[in-house]
C-alpha cells in the first residue's frame, strides 16, 4: 500500500513539476521546477529498490541543473518574465502530443505483449551497487567505455574553447600585478 501511495504521490508531483517547467515564462520557475522534477524522479528508483541509481540520479541532476542556473543567471534577469515568441500554437500542441504518445507506445509495447524478460536478473544477496557494476563491466563494457571517451572528448573540447587565457591565473598573481593587468585593459 505504501508503495502505491508513494508512487502516485511522486508521479503526480513529477508531472506537475515538468508541466510548470514547460509552460511557465519565467526562467527561475522553470529551472526550479526542472530541478525538483528531476529529484522527484529518483523516488521511483528508490521505490523499485534501485537505491544506487536513485542516489546517482539525485547527485547527477542537482549538479547538471545547477550549471543551467549559472547560465540562466548570465543570460536573463531571472526575476522578470521572458517574452516568448509564440509560433503556431496548433503545430506545437499537435507535435508534442504526437511525440508523447509515441514515447508511451514505444515503452509500453513490450509490456503489453508480455515479451519483457530480465536479461540479467537480480542476484540474491548481492548489493545494488555490485549488481550495477557487474552488468556495466561485462555486458555493457563497450558502450560504457565509448561514453567515457565521448565525455573525455567533450572535456578536451571545452577546455580548448574556453582556455584562451589559461596561462594567466588571477589567483597566483599579487595585487599589484592584478592592478597592472586592469590598467593594461583600460588603456588598450
Amino acid at each position: 500500500m505504501f508503495e502505491a501511495i508513494a508512487f502516485y504521490l511522486f508521479a503526480f508531483l513529477t508531472i506537475v513539476m515538468f508541466f510548470i517547467t514547460v509552460t511557465t515564462s519565467q526562467a527561475l520557475y522553470a529551472l526550479s521546477a526542472l530541478a525538483a522534477g528531476m529529484i522527484f524522479i529518483s523516488a521511483f528508483f528508490f521505490i523499485l529498490g534501485a537505491d544506487f541509481l536513485g542516489a546517482v540520479q539525485i547527485i547527477v541532476y542537482t549538479g547538471a541543473v545547477m550549471a543551467l542556473y549559472a547560465f540562466g543567471m548570465m543570460f536573463f534577469d531571472s526575476t522578470r518574465e521572458v517574452k516568448e515568441k509564440q509560433g503556431n500554437k496548433y503545430i506545437i500542441v499537435g507535435l508534442s502530443t504526437l511525440a508523447a504518445i509515441l514515447v508511451v507506445v514505444i515503452f509500453s509495447a513490450p509490456m503489453v505483449s508480455d515479451k519483457i524478460v530480465a536479461l540479467y536478473p537480480a542476484i540474491d544477496g548481492v548489493g545494488n551497487t555490485q549488481e550495477v557494476g557487474l552488468v556495466l563491466f561485462t555486458k555493457y563494457l563497450v558502450p560504457f567505455e565509448v561514453a567515457a571517451i565521448m565525455l573525455l572528448v567533450a572535456m578536451v573540447a571545452g577546455i580548448v574553447l574556453a582556455g584562451k587565457k589559461m596561462d594567466l591565473s588571477i589567483t597566483l598573481m599579487s595585487d599589484s600585478e592584478i592592478e597592472e593587468q586592469k590598467n593594461k585593459k583600460v588603456l588598450s
Partner: protein, 329 residues
C-alpha cells in the same frame, strides 16, 4: 511493512528532528562563546547563567518577528528557498547511524532511520541539494548582493563536489560498501583499524570539502558579511532567515558525524564507550569548525575554485589510483 516498524520510524524521525533543531540553536551559542573566548571577549552573558538562555531569546525573537517579503522578489521561490536548506539537511540524516544499536525495554533499537545500502552516496547527494537554498534565495531576492551570493553558491557547488566525491572513493574501494554501518564495522577492531591511517590524504581532502559543503569560514564566501552584506540572506527576515541557519548548523553536526564514521572508527565495537567516543569525535569536529572561523581568513571565490580544481582534485585522483594499485597487488 508492519505497524511496529512504521511507528518506530516515525518516532526516530521526530526524535532526530527535535534533537538536531535544538542542537542547531545551541550550536549558535557555542559558536559565539568559542569565538568570544578566542578573541578575548565574554560573548553572550546577560540572558540566563553565562548567557545560556540567549538561544531561547534568539528563538523567540526569530519566531515572532514580522516575515517581510519585499515587493520585487519572485514570491514562491523566495518563500521556499530557506525550507530547502533546512529540509535537505534533515533528510540527509536519514542514512546516518548516530549510535550503535541498543536494547530499550527488551526492544532492539537501530538508531538509523533508513539503512539503505548506498548511505554515503545518499548523504552527499542530499546535502548537495541543500545548496539550492542559498542559490534560489539569492536569485529570487531581486538584490544585487544576493545575486552575487547565488553566483558564488554555484561556483562553490561545482568546485567542492568533485573533491568530496573523489576523496570518498578511495575508502569506499577499501571497504567495498557504501553503507556507513559497513564502514563502521570495517574499523570496529580498534584504533589501529581506522581508515585514517591508510587514507590520510582522503581524510584531509574530505575534511576540506566538508568546509566548502557547509559554507564555513575558509570558504564562507557565499555570505561574506564584509563583501556582500549577508549574501542570500540580505532580504530575509524572521524565521525564514532562521531556517537557513538551522540548516547550516544541522549540516555541520551531520557532517561532523559522517567524518568520524568514515575515517575515525565511528562508534567502534558498539559498546557504550564507543558511543561516547563517537560523541567526543563529533564534538571535536564541530569545535574545529568554530576554531577555523576564529583563526583563518576567508578565501576569494577564484582562490576556492583554483584550490579545488587545480590542487585538491589532482591529489584526490592520484590517491584513488594509488589505492587501486595497492589493492590490486
Amino acid at each position: 511493512m508492519d505497524t511496529a516498524y512504521l511507528i518506530e520510524t516515525i518516532i526516530k524521525v521526530v526524535v532526530i528532528l527535535l534533537i538536531f533543531s535544538a542542537l542547531a540553536g545551541i550550536g549558535t551559542y557555542f559558536e559565539r562563546k568559542v569565538l568570544a573566548f578566542m578573541q578575548r571577549r565574554l560573548g553572550p552573558m546577560y540572558v540566563g547563567p553565562y548567557g545560556l538562555l540567549q538561544v531561547a531569546a534568539d528563538g523567540i525573537k526569530l519566531f515572532t518577528k514580522e516575515d517581510i517579503i519585499p515587493t520585487n522578489v519572485v514570491r514562491p521561490i523566495f518563500k521556499i528557498a530557506p525550507v530547502i536548506t533546512a529540509a535537505t539537511a534533515f533528510m540527509a540524516a536519514a542514512a546516518i547511524p548516530f549510535f550503535p544499536q541498543f536494547t530499550l525495554f527488551g526492544y532492539t533499537v537501530h538508531p538509523i532511520v533508513a539503512d539503505v545500502n548506498i548511505g554515503i552516496l545518499y548523504i552527499l547527494g542530499v546535502m548537495a541539494i541543500g545548496l539550492y537554498g542559498p542559490l534560489l534565495g539569492g536569485m529570487a531576492s531581486a538584490n544585487k548582493f544576493s545575486l552575487l551570493s547565488a553566483a558564488r553558491t554555484a561556483a562553490v557547488f561545482i568546485s567542492y563536489e568533485v573533491v568530496s566525491g573523489l576523496a570518498i572513493l578511495a575508502p569506499i574501494m577499501m571497504v567495498g560498501s557504501l553503507s556507513l554501518i559497513d564502514f563502521n564495522n570495517y574499523q570496529a577492531g580498534g584504533i589501529a583499524n581506522w581508515i585514517v591511517w591508510s587514507q590520510p590524504v582522503a581524510f584531509v581532502l574530505f575534511w576540506i570539502a566538508a568546509f566548502a559543503e557547509t559554507g564555513r569560514t575558509p570558504f564562507h564566501l557565499i555570505a561574506n558579511d564584509h563583501e556582500i552584506i549577508d549574501g542570500f540572506g540580505t532580504e530575509y527576515s524572521g524565521m525564514r532567515w532562521g531556517l537557513f541557519f538551522i540548516g547550516e548548523y544541522a549540516n555541520m553536526f551531520f557532517i561532523s558525524f559522517v567524518i568520524p564514521l568514515i575515517f575515525l572508527g565511528g562508534y567502534g565495537d558498539g559498546s557504550l564507550l564507543g558511543a561516547l567516543g563517537l560523541i567526543a569525535k563529533v564534538a571535536f569536529f564541530f569545535f574545529f569548525f568554530l576554531w577555523t572561523r576564529a583563526a583563518w581568513p576567508d578565501v576569494r571565490p577564484d582562490q576556492l575554485m583554483w584550490l579545488c580544481w587545480k590542487v585538491l582534485m589532482p591529489l584526490a585522483v592520484i590517491n584513488v589510483v594509488i589505492t587501486g594499485l595497492v589493492m590490486m597487488f
